[in-house]
């Protein structure tokens, strides 16, 4: 029986890796990948918690549901990125700064 804390350690490591990618990468696609990391870190927590809910499998269900939504949102995000690239000829997040003051 693998204790819950191991899952949480894995999840936290995965989340921090994702966070790192989100914060430092110079490519929006890589940012997106970092976001996926973080989503999946959260899902690991859901699945690990779902282990103690054997009747309803609420954690697993939420994870599945979230994966579907994440896939959809990734599709939307990629479409946005494509448009951004058309407009800026770049996907470096530092250059996408038209919203600054």
């Amino acid at each position: 029986m693998i204790p819950l804390s191991n899952f949480m350690m894995l999840s936290a490591a995965l989340f921090v890796i994702g966070l790192y990618a989100v914060l430092v990468k110079r490519n929006v696609i890589q940012l997106l990948i970092g976001i996926e990391f973080m989503i999946n870190a959260a899902l690991i927590n859901f699945v690990a918690a779902g282990k103690s809910d054997k009747n309803y499998m609420g954690g697993q269900m939420t994870a599945l549901f979230t994966i579907v939504i994440a896939a959809a949102s990734v599709a939307v995000a990629l479409a946005i990125i494509l448009n951004v690239y058309k407009y800026y000829k770049s996907i470096d997040p530092d250059k996408l700064n038209k919203l600054r003051d």
């Binding site: 989100v22 914060l23 997040p93 996408l96």
Partner: protein, 681 residues
């Protein structure tokens, strides 16, 4: 009764026509027809005056009034007073003005400001005619000023000439001095009687005759003052008249006034305006007591004598005539002084004709000389009689008319001047019989003056018309010819008027003159028969001798009897140094005082103002500094603080997503850390 309604209207027409012409010439009609407008208006005025004269003369006075304005309790009337005196004057003024207008048509032809000339001349005629028919001393005063003003305008008509500008200023200022006396007299009369109406004051049973003189007091209906004020009042009128009639000591403006056009000199400074002083004295003559009268007589004879001596040696043809005018006006003053107003007015009338004629002839001569000078391009004074000579062959008609005028001026029988001058001389002898020794000198001085008159006018005639022309040039004889027709016609007409028959059927005795009979006072003196034959005979005998001497001296030039460089000659040539004296005694001190007060004004008053101004500038610069540094400092500080704060917060808005995320995470982490270590939150 109908006539009494129409006469005032007609006389008003005579005054208003020139005024209309003035307005038209100055503002409405083009230059080319301004002359026609002025001449036709004065012609209408002349015809109206003739009508008025024949209706009024010896046929009773007309005095109509109309309410003018009310000052407090006092109501003022404006009106016309037509009696023998004003009827004669209105005819004289408009008649001579008419002739001079015709003369001016030719004389002023081609002047570039001709419309201004006609306008001014019309203004003068209107004010002079108004002056003679006004019924009220205040109204007379107003017209008196207007006459002086239009004379000022006309003297300075050629305004680009410096001498003309100086002359008109001088004339105006000296006339203003006289006006002061006039005004003073008016104020005294008004305070004593409460009216300035001539008829009410001096008419039969008028207010003035109601005043009583007891123990040095003058008791009048309204006032009760010292007798001295009666003298002051009389001298005030006299002073006013002295300035207008160019008598000593205010005579020096008239010779300078000759800078105006000759036609103007003829009308204004010989025939009409200068006679206004005499006219005024006759109008107010009841007010003069014996002291004032003797003063008038002395001033008159002194002026006559002085001016005639000056005229002896002048070289400018117009200045000779100007001094002659002063001298003749002196005779009129003498006549008033001895109480013979009729003789004064009679001499005024005859003098108006012959002196006007003399000036017109002089104008013709100057006109031709000027023409010749311009043609020959000669550099000489065309008014200097030393440059003239021999003109009788070239201008025969002018010569004849001028000789007639000169004879009238000398008082040779068969001329009008003989009658009027004898009237004055003989009555002055009659007057002196009952007076002291000093007073007896006056008629003798008058006689001497009369001979001097004969000499200077003979000198003028012989120098101008006899001998040889002294202007250089080959064809000068052909250049100078008779004056134009429009200039000759008035001359001929005036020459006829200078003869005796216009005034009396008897050429040798003035006593039958129609003009004298209507004036009271002229027959009041006791008649002394011997005077009436001896004096004219003596006068004319010497006059003929003097003319002969002048002929030898100036026409034939056989020998020079008079040297021309003695101090007496220079004394007369410089007009007894009156101008010099006035310049040193009055003009220079006044200029000095004005300069002094000017410097005070500039240094002290302006200095004070400057100090106030400078301290104001200093104060405001301090205030400005405070404002800029202190008040603005606070405002700027607030602004800068806001800007700094804004910039600080703005620096967060970098537009970099990752930066925002990092901050967000940092904040959340901080929250959790705080939450973890302090469970109280």
């Amino acid at each position: 009764m109908e006539q009494h309604d129409i006469i005032p209207v007609v006389s008003l027409l005579a005054v208003l026509m020139p005024l209309l012409s003035f307005v038209l010439c100055m503002f409405f009609v083009p230059k080319s027809i301004s002359g026609k407008v002025a001449v036709s208006s004065i012609a209408v005025s002349f015809i109206a005056s003739c009508f008025v004269f024949f209706k009024i003369w010896n046929a009773g006075n007309i005095h109509i009034q109309h309410h003018w304005f009310t000052l407090g309790q006092t109501s003022w009337d404006v009106g016309l007073l037509l009696n023998n005196l004003s009827a004669l004057m209105i005819l004289l003024v408009s008649g001579i003005a008419f002739l001079v207008h015709i003369y001016s048509l030719a004389y002023m032809k081609g002047d570039e400001n001709i419309d201004r000339y006609w306008g001014y001349l019309s203004l003068f005629c209107s004010s002079m005619l108004g002056l003679v028919i006004a019924d009220n001393l205040l109204l007379i005063y107003i017209f008196w000023e207007l006459v002086g003003f239009s004379s000022y305008l006309l003297i300075g008509f050629w305004r680009t000439r410096d001498a003309a500008v100086q002359a008109n200023k001088k004339a105006f200022i000296m006339n203003r001095l006289g006006d002061l006396g006039f005004l003073l007299a008016l104020m005294i009369l008004y305070s004593q009687f409460g009216t300035l109406d001539i008829e009410k004051l001096f008419g039969d049973g008028g207010l003035f005759h109601l005043s009583q003189f007891t123990s040095g007091e003058w008791i009048a209906p309204l006032g009760h003052i010292s007798y001295v004020w009666l003298l002051v009042c009389g001298f005030g009128f006299v002073f006013g008249a002295l300035a207008k009639s160019a008598q000593f000591p205010l005579h020096t403006w008239l010779p300078d006034a000759m800078e105006g056009p000759t036609a103007v000199s003829s009308l204004i400074h010989a025939a009409t305006m200068v006679a206004a002083g005499v006219f005024l004295l006759v109008r107010v003559s009841p007010i003069f007591d014996s002291t004032v009268l003797i003063t008038i007589a002395v001033i008159g004879i002194f002026t006559a004598f002085m001016a005639s001596t000056i005229a002896l040696v002048q070289n400018d043809i117009k200045r000779i005539l100007a001094y002659s005018t002063i001298s003749q006006l002196g005779f009129m003053m003498l006549a008033i002084g001895i109480g013979n107003n009729g003789a004064a007015i009679f001499h005024l009338a005859t003098h108006a004709f012959f002196k006007c004629l003399l000036f017109l002839c002089a104008g013709s001569v100057i006109h031709e000389m000027h023409y010749a000078k311009n043609k020959l391009d000669a550099d000489c004074d065309h008014q200097d009689i030393r440059n003239m000579g021999g003109l009788r062959k070239m201008m025969p008609l002018t010569f004849v008319t001028m000789v007639i005028a000169a004879l009238a001026l000398c008082g040779i029988p068969l001329t009008s001047g003989y009658l009027s001058k004898d009237a004055i001389l003989i009555s002055s002898f009659e007057w002196a019989t009952t007076r002291s020794f000093a007073a007896k000198l006056i008629p003798y001085l008058a006689m001497l003056t009369s001979w001097l008159t004969t000499f200077y006018i003979a000198r003028l005639i012989f120098k101008v018309f006899y001998g040889e022309l002294r202007i250089q040039g080959d064809k000068t004889e052909r250049l100078i010819h008779e004056a134009p027709r429009f200039m000759l016609m008035p001359q001929l007409f005036l020459a006829v008027c200078s003869a005796f028959f216009l005034f009396s059927v008897n050429p040798l005795s003035y006593e039958n003159t129609w003009l004298l009979k209507v004036f009271p006072g002229s027959v009041a003196l006791e008649r002394i028969h011997s005077y009436h034959t001896v004096i004219p005979a003596l006068l004319n005998l010497f006059a003929v001798l003097i003319i002969y001497f002048a002929y030898i001296q100036y026409a034939r030039k056989e020998k020079a009897m008079f040297r021309e460089n003695t101090w007496l000659y220079n004394f007369a040539l410089n007009g007894w140094y009156f101008d010099e004296f006035y310049h040193q005694a009055i003009v220079r001190p006044v200029t000095y005082v004005s300069k002094f007060s000017f410097s005070i004004d500039r240094k002290v008053i302006d200095g004070l103002v400057d100090i106030v101004g400078k301290s104001g500038v200093l104060l405001s610069s301090i205030a400005g500094w405070l404002d800029r540094k202190l008040i603005d400092g606070f405002v700027n500080l607030a602004g800068r603080a806001a800007a700094g704060l804004g910039n600080f917060f703005r620096s967060f808005q970098s537009g970099r997503i990752q930066y925002y995320l990092a901050v967000m995470i940092f904040v959340v982490l901080t929250f959790f850390v705080l939450r973890y270590f302090s469970p109280a939150i």
